[in-house]
């Protein structure tokens, strides 16, 4: 009798079983998120502690293949590729993160306001967003770079602006469906102002979707920045940037010095693949169709 009763009681909780349960449910998010965090930390630390600088050229050691002293080899000016790789990684990650977060905030505000206000404001905002969508991100990047000149700002501005419509459209459609719910009418009855409703009820409700969208957008932002760097519209040399490094290595590919172009691409591929995995995991975690 007693044993029977005990068997229906929940198992006694311990720290280990809690951790195990957490791991089982959050593994798919935690693994890519953890790997990304490690990647990010390594990219922050390596340029500081690595004995070779990213821009110290030493022609006597130019185009050396990967070895123990230069694990990623050296480029045509004898610069250490590992140092350049991780300073490039740092740049990509920082540009990706800032542009995506700024884009997400703008997109969220624009989308919520358009959805809440409706009418003429909504119509104007939507046409504006459609216009932005008419330019693929890379093309927009080229246009911005032409207007403000090459440098780190052009790709950053371009990927930020290009990402805004995606958030805004998604948030707007969510707001439109929120508007049909009863709690929305209740809030009107309570006499709460629009800003209050926006801040306390709309933003929390749409945040999941924005986070999912953002984690997928980081990858595209990083790829676009690299693409602009590859065609010579990104950061100015000698700053190390993955796309520009690949462009530099292109001419050595046919003569056998593959590492100059191949290694930065692997860094890009890993970074973007991890962000996509994270985005997928977050999407299924929030039961969110992308």
């Amino acid at each position: 009798m007693e044993a029977e009763l005990l068997s229906v009681l929940p198992e006694p909780r311990s720290v280990q079983s809690d951790a195990r349960r957490w791991w089982a449910s959050e593994k798919s998010v935690a693994v890519p998120a953890g790997l990304l965090l490690i990647y990010f930390l390594v990219a922050l630390i390596v340029p500081v502690v690595w004995p070779w600088g990213a821009n110290t050229a030493k022609l006597s050691i130019h185009l050396q293949s990967p070895s123990w002293t230069h694990p990623f080899g050296t480029d045509e000016f004898g610069r250490d590729m590992l140092a350049r790789f991780f300073t490039g990684a740092r740049l990509s990650m920082l540009v990706g993160l800032t542009s995506v977060s700024i884009g997400a905030v703008f997109g969220m505000v624009i989308g919520s306001v358009a959805g809440l206000m409706g009418g003429i404001v909504d119509a104007i905002v939507m046409r504006g967003l459609d216009t932005l969508l008419a330019f693929p991100a890379l093309i927009l990047g080229i246009a911005v770079a032409l207007a403000i000149g090459p440098g780190v700002l052009a790709p950053a501005v371009a990927v930020t602006v290009a990402s805004i419509p995606w958030y805004a459209r998604r948030v707007r459609s969510e707001v439109l469906s929120l508007k049909t719910r009863t709690f929305f009418d209740a809030e009107k009855l309570m006499g709460w102002g629009r800003v209050h409703v926006l801040w306390h009820h709309v933003f929390p409700a749409v945040l999941d979707g924005v986070v999912v969208q953002a984690s997928l957008a980081v990858g595209y932002a990083v790829l676009t920045v690299a693409g602009l760097g590859y065609i010579g519209l990104g950061v100015r040399p000698p700053t190390s940037e993955w796309g520009a490094m690949i462009a530099d290595g292109q001419s050595y590919l046919l003569t056998g010095q593959w590492w100059v172009a191949v290694i930065p691409g692997i860094g890009l591929l890993l970074l973007v693949a991890l962000t996509i995995r994270l985005g997928d995991a977050l999407a299924s975690r929030f039961a969110y169709a992308v």
Binding site: R127, G128, D130, T131, L133, A134, F135, P136, A137, L138, I139, I142, A143, V144, L146, A147, I148, G149, G219, L223, A226, G227, Y230, I231, G232, L233, G243, I246, G249, Q250, L253, L254, G256, W258, A261, V262, P264, G265, L268, L269, L270, L271, V272, A273, T275, I276, R277, D280
Partner: protein
């Protein structure tokens, strides 16, 4: 249907008009001298002055805009100084190469993506699904220009089975007389089979490079879409009736699951525009994308401005066509605003 068509057409025209205003503002009112930018770094003061009047820069902003619109509508995009040729003429020359590349890339990409996605959805969680799932993440995450270089490294430098990554035909091959501008079709018309083979050999790597991200994307979309259809009642009924799994997949699930795939295929063809820009630079493909990158390298911005506008127009038209196709296939769409 007519109403829907008119409304979509109107929206597209409006967006294109706004996009042209955006482009105008960006290029004309940007810091620095737009005439200087277009005339190039080597131009003397008199050349800049002539570009200045060609671009209507001496007139009032309203007239500048009107002049700009007039030029664009007449296909008058100025002169590419580094090639000493009119931009309009250059574009007409270069467009077939890009179109041919894009055609084969999208064919390969869409076919591979849909098939992979369908087979993965047929047995979710099994080996094929897992492998292609990871493959798709990598396919989406690859920078296309890097992928092109890696393929050149493998198939040209090491295996020696791909031709030199330079252009559409080997220098020793006689080009067929131009009819369509598509070398594969022109050589077929001329009955020149060695040119046909050479054209395909040159197309293979760039087309595959461009196709991989499209295939990866569409495989994910198709898989999700087919899985969703597999969960619906009519599939259970069909299965209960004894419809075979293969038939179930291709006749029932895939057909219904293809609707969203169709929209997204058109959108990914839009992405092909930016992809082609980079891949053409890798393979020295004499298309519009290659022209863009060359012109940027030469600081010649007249062609670049024209190409930015053309990309926007193409993208909008693709969107319009998909929306209309979607409405033809799914009548419910027409009723939505």
């Amino acid at each position: 249907m007519t109403r829907y068509l008119l409304r979509r057409l109107g929206a597209t025209v409006l967006v294109l008009w706004l996009a042209s205003i955006g482009a105008f503002l960006l290029f004309r009112l940007a810091p620095g001298d737009p005439a200087r930018l277009v005339a190039g770094p080597l131009a003397g003061p008199s050349a800049i002055a002539s570009v200045r009047s060609q671009m209507h820069l001496n007139e009032s902003p309203i007239n500048q805009y009107l002049g700009y619109t007039d030029d664009v509508l007449h296909g008058n995009f100025g002169t590419a100084w580094h090639l000493h040729e009119s931009v309009g003429h250059l574009l007409v020359q270069r467009l077939p190469a890009t179109a041919e590349l894009a055609l084969y890339a999208s064919m390969v990409g869409i076919l591979a993506g849909v098939l992979i996605g369908a087979f993965a959805a047929a047995r979710p969680g099994k080996l094929f699904d897992r492998i292609t799932g990871y493959g798709a993440v990598f396919g989406l995450g690859t920078p296309v220009f890097w992928l092109g270089l890696v393929l050149v490294l493998i198939f040209y430098t090491h295996l020696h089975i791909a031709p030199v990554p330079f252009g559409r035909l080997a220098v020793t091959t006689n080009a067929p007389p131009q009819v369509t501008g598509f070398l594969t079709i022109d050589s077929l018309i001329a009955g020149n089979f060695s040119a046909l083979g050479d054209a395909f050999a040159h197309l293979a790597l760039p087309a595959i490079t461009l196709a991989i991200p499209i295939a990866a994307y569409l495989a994910r979309v198709t898989r999700a879409s087919v899985l969703e259809v597999f969960g619906s009642d009519f599939i259970r009924t069909a299965r209960a009736k004894g419809v075979g799994e293969r038939r179930l997949l291709f006749k029932h699930a895939l057909r219904n699951g293809l609707l969203p795939v169709m929209t997204l295929s058109a959108l990914s063809i839009g992405d092909l525009l930016s992809g082609a820009l980079l891949v053409e630079a890798v393979f020295n493909w004499p298309g519009v994308g290659g022209l863009t990158v060359e012109s940027i390298g030469a600081h010649d911005f007249a062609p670049v401005e024209a190409i930015i506008l053309i990309a926007a127009v193409t993208y909008c038209i693709l969107n319009l066509v998909t929306d209309v196709l979607y409405a033809v296939v799914d009548p419910r769409v027409r009723l939505q605003t």
